[in-house]
């Protein structure tokens, strides 16, 4: 490509990071006008229901589904802020701020109770999952005690995989 628009930084040098704008380079982009939104804040979002753990099967509920209408599986970012726990914004479990997943509980590898995401070629899903590794079944999820504020980005950039979740693996 031999054409483009360049804006130089203070040094006037058209190299490296002092090139304030370079139209030859693409960027991570998010639409501000699409419906459903590609970028949104979901305030007062319930943490989920009181799932009960099963030794052999992951317990799972889908909390939100957003159709992205993109011709590929996009890169997504999810940020999770715990507004209140048990109705309190001063509880130590309030003010938590995870990205891609937030673990409600998960001590010593026995229980993994979390809110996280999945994305594929059609939709972005916010999910609550409960895995029981060594607890022995019957663990009751802490999710109903959480009120969250979520922020998500569905980027206009191809992830180059068919689907992925927290682990980065294909689903």
């Amino acid at each position: 490509m031999t054409q483009g628009l360049l804006v130089f930084g203070q040094s006037g040098s058209p190299t490296g990071q002092d090139l304030a704008y370079d139209s030859r380079k693409s960027r991570l982009q998010v639409s501000l006008v699409d419906t459903p939104p590609k970028l949104a804040i979901l305030d007062n979002f319930p943490g989920g229901t009181a799932l009960v753990s099963n030794v052999t099967t992951q317990q799972r509920e889908v909390l939100e589904v957003i159709k992205h209408n993109l011709p590929f599986t996009p890169e997504v970012f999810l940020y999770i802020y715990t507004k209140t726990y048990g109705g309190s914004n001063t509880d130590p479990k309030a003010g938590g701020y995870g990205g891609q997943a937030y673990f409600y509980s998960g001590s010593a590898g026995t229980i993994e109770d979390k809110i996280t995401f999945e994305v594929d070629a059609n939709e972005f899903r916010i999910v609550h999952t409960l895995d029981d590794f060594l607890y022995g079944g019957g663990y009751v999820s802490d999710a109903p005690k959480y009120i969250l504020r979520l922020k998500y980005y569905i980027l206009a950039n191809d992830s180059h995989v068919d689907s992925y979740s927290l682990s980065g693996d294909a689903l």
Partner: protein
């Protein structure tokens, strides 16, 4: 970098460029952006791995002269029959130096004839997040309108159709926002509390990313990097239950000493009025 006295600012429709807040701008040439320097799929094959040392395969040279922010997605992995080799574990890593990007693996005895084959996609940015940097901030006038644009600016990144609805084909499109850089730097987690405090003072919990940085002198014994140079790991959105945030800081804590060493961070400018 001194604050330039000339440059280009593009705002969203209906917003006066003189009073626009950061979230109402699409372009401000005083800012840095997360420009993509390189993105490509790779297939890497390696056989005959050693049991007690790293092996390293160079993927490509970026020659940027600094430790760049980058990320990747694993598309597929054939572990050659060795179940210890999994995607995203601590043994199989993609790292960058100030000149190149590598795949490396540690302490897995490999079959001399059956290779490990990884197919992945790498996106590398022209941004040194290991330097201390904070962008200027402009606060807006309450109530300034942000309307769905029927006029605006679009600049293609390469050959293509200006009427395309695919935002990724444009370096600027005023219907969308690109990630601009608010702050970068390096923080270190160490004994006794093993936590990172990112002091941003923005007034809200920001959008942020972390990338582990390993200096050449921080590697020990078998973990000593055969490259013998500073390295940076992929940039990720950190997850866990031990991250807290308020209006001034994001504090990332590990479990006991699990979080230790140096981490580069990136905080982006918020693309809308709302922040978490």
């Amino acid at each position: 970098m001194a604050d330039p006295t000339s440059g280009v600012i593009v705002t969203q429709q209906g917003v006066d460029v003189v009073i626009a807040a950061d979230y109402q701008k699409v372009v401000d040439t005083r800012w840095r952006f997360l420009d993509i320097q390189f993105e490509q799929e790779f297939t890497i094959s390696h056989a005959d791995s050693g049991a007690t040392h790293w092996w390293v395969e160079k993927l490509f040279d970026h020659n940027l002269g600094f430790l760049p922010a980058f990320n990747y997605r694993a598309i597929s992995l054939d572990n050659g029959g060795n179940s210890f080799v999994t995607i995203n574990n601590s043994l199989l890593q993609i790292i960058a130096t100030d000149t190149s990007v590598y795949l490396r693996n540690l302490y897995v005895s490999g079959d001399p004839t059956t290779p490990i084959v990884l197919k992945c996609f790498i996106r590398l940015y022209n941004l040194d997040i290991t330097t201390e940097y904070a962008a200027p901030i402009s606060f807006g006038v309450p109530g300034a309108p942000v309307l769905e644009p029927d006029i605006g600016i679009k600049i293609l990144t390469n050959e293509g159709d200006i009427n395309s609805t695919d935002l990724s084909k444009f370096t600027i499109d005023t219907k969308g926002k690109a990630f601009a850089i608010q702050q970068t730097g390096v923080r270190t987690a160490a004994s006794p509390d093993y936590s990172l405090t990112i002091d941003h003072h923005l007034g809200y919990p920001p959008t942020y990313f972390l990338a582990q940085v390993k200096r050449a002198n921080e590697w020990n014994s078998v973990f000593k990097d055969p490259l013998g140079v500073d390295t940076i790991f992929p940039m990720v959105v950190p997850f866990g239950a031990r991250i807290v945030a308020d209006t001034n800081n994001v504090i990332v804590k590990g479990s006991q000493s699990a979080l230790a060493g140096s981490y580069a961070f990136l905080i982006t400018k918020e693309p809308t009025e709302l922040a978490v």
